[in-house]
Point group: C2
Chain length 420, copies 2
Amino acid sequence: MLTKNVKQMVEDQAVAAKKAAKVLGMLTTEEKNDVLLTLADALEDRYQDILNANEVDLENGRKNGFEEAFMDRLALSKERVYDFAKGLREVAQLKDPVGDVLSDWTLENGLHVSEVRVPLGVIGMIYEARPNVTVDATGLALKSGNAIILKGGSSAISSNKAIVDVMHEALEKTIIPKEAVQFIESTDRAATEALFTMKEHVDVLIPRGGGALINAVVNNATVPVLETGVGNCHLYVDADADVQKALAILVNAKTDRPAVCNAAETLLVHQKWFEQHKQELIRTLNEHNIGVHGDETVVEAIPGAMLATETDWAEEYLSLDIAIKVVSDENEAIDHIDQYGTKHSEAIITENKQTAQKFMSLVDAAAVYHNASTRFTDGGALGFGAEIGISTQKLHARGPMGLPALTTIKYLMSGNGQIR
Amino acid sequence: MLTKNVKQMVEDQAVAAKKAAKVLGMLTTEEKNDVLLTLADALEDRYQDILNANEVDLENGRKNGFEEAFMDRLALSKERVYDFAKGLREVAQLKDPVGDVLSDWTLENGLHVSEVRVPLGVIGMIYEARPNVTVDATGLALKSGNAIILKGGSSAISSNKAIVDVMHEALEKTIIPKEAVQFIESTDRAATEALFTMKEHVDVLIPRGGGALINAVVNNATVPVLETGVGNCHLYVDADADVQKALAILVNAKTDRPAVCNAAETLLVHQKWFEQHKQELIRTLNEHNIGVHGDETVVEAIPGAMLATETDWAEEYLSLDIAIKVVSDENEAIDHIDQYGTKHSEAIITENKQTAQKFMSLVDAAAVYHNASTRFTDGGALGFGAEIGISTQKLHARGPMGLPALTTIKYLMSGNGQIR
């Protein structure tokens, strides 16, 4: 009975969001930007309320004995809240994709056809600990003319609720109805599951978080999903790799921010290169405290290396650990990536252009690098501005998703009585 | 045990298709076109074998007492087989989207980024009676560099198998391995269901057929789906509609080809227009033998009209029947379309530009028409060339899907040691 009520409540919110989306789809870019700036000001003005609410989440987190890294993602500060506001102001600067005419032409019979970008409608955002997603996703959704339903993790419920309260109060002074931003307060799992099948009212679900969350959404949702984030990224160091480039890219891709999805998780090394340069490789791994899990060749050659299991090849470490496999050539590297990669970011280090081209053609991933770190797969780094996530799927959007990923197209046909 | 074998067999086929897809992704446009022309010649050369196989399906159909319209879709002739070949030659003429550079730029650090179109990989095509899909889908898949797994309806199994045999034999003389075209011979439902969850090997499923087939795929597949086809299309005749245009468009949209997805299924009429023009409307409906199901106003005004039920508003007739509802204004029409439309094609007939603009902005569909028949939602009519289906979803592709819908993008990054 409780479950049924939760489902009904979520449906009511989705219906309200859909109605608000109609208003949003008709607004000009300027009107939407004004709203984003109003929200930014409100967050700064009321940062203390948000910090107070965050303290409740932190207190609960301490009681529950959450890990330090998790607590760090959860913790807000005046500076972090101001960064949220800055993020919204940056989204206001981004080009509005809505209304773009992608193509238009006139048929011989005079029927005029125009393909225009329009908002998707209602976005369901399902995410975990970090409260910044509440603001970032709202900003990107509103700018692209979409309503949003926010379903954050229960560990950040108090912070998220405070942030949404501030945004709702601010929206009341704007042209956008506050119903355009829906926040699901229930931490009942049924609330999330209700979103999975609400095809009539929700146009897309975007899960952001760990692999378990993403798989739960992908496997159970009938609403279309934009799959984001899991990055089991590989570096392949070819026989013809420059040693300095290879080691610098390894260090950057593995240690710059080990917990992010574009960090490297497996190093594939051509056997010749490995034979010639293993001493430099070992020194570099040691200097940067990188823990090694490897195949038998690696375990024999690298002191302290543990024998890798299937899990080491298949999963992200998101830590200073790396799996290392010695391969006989680029074909074996490509096959390994085919088997274990998550179609996120893959790199080859080589001075051989032909080998590089082959690798870039045959590896199936959102981003394939030649002689550069996988860390560049990021909306900010590539100049897209803010991103709603990094797509690891092939349909609709691939790689860092900016505002256009939150739109669809519509054919507008104007005639004077044309029949076929 | 049988079920398990079927699943394993389908998986083996999918793995072979994935391997063949790697070869396909590397071919030039010319190489692919040559293959299509070879297939076209082979189909013409061996049309008699195909007709013989078709006779088996027709005989079974007669035994099973299939309807005439169904038998007509199933029946092949020399002319129809030659049309398949013609279709392949037309696909050879289409622009190859693979390799198109959609954008490219260089970051300040010198990293060169290029966004290129690449094939999706392996397409799973699940379809019903018409054997032409076997050829059309294969042609579009190969041209766009994709392997294809064909799962046709059991009523056409003999025809489809003969067509695939001809294509396989022809492929053996070409650069494309015959494994690029997989045909699932089993009519066990488990074979289709195996495709639903084969995410590792199949990149997209495209169901083509009736609503039941499409819903089964959408609701059960974890492989991404390109949803096609169900068109519960509306004509809204506004208070300011021109009588001649309205009636001509009604007749065309309803009667030109009633069984196709872009045919009109419901007529929404502004009450003023209905009051003024109902006699002309009745005459037109009678002249074209259109069966009327209507609301109470309609039933009172139109002799022989039956009272419409929920099903009349919600489902396609695909026949010379139409549902008619009298509405008080365009808002009621838009709300009705929101509730019952399938986001395919919707039209407004009016001389009032403001009302037209409002309708076109607020109606959420792949194609929205002003003063024209919904029948133009078609790849051929719009000048896209052959289409793989008409998407009624919002992600990836919307409306008629040509070759670009069978591709994704990939970011290729070339550097000389860039790290972040």
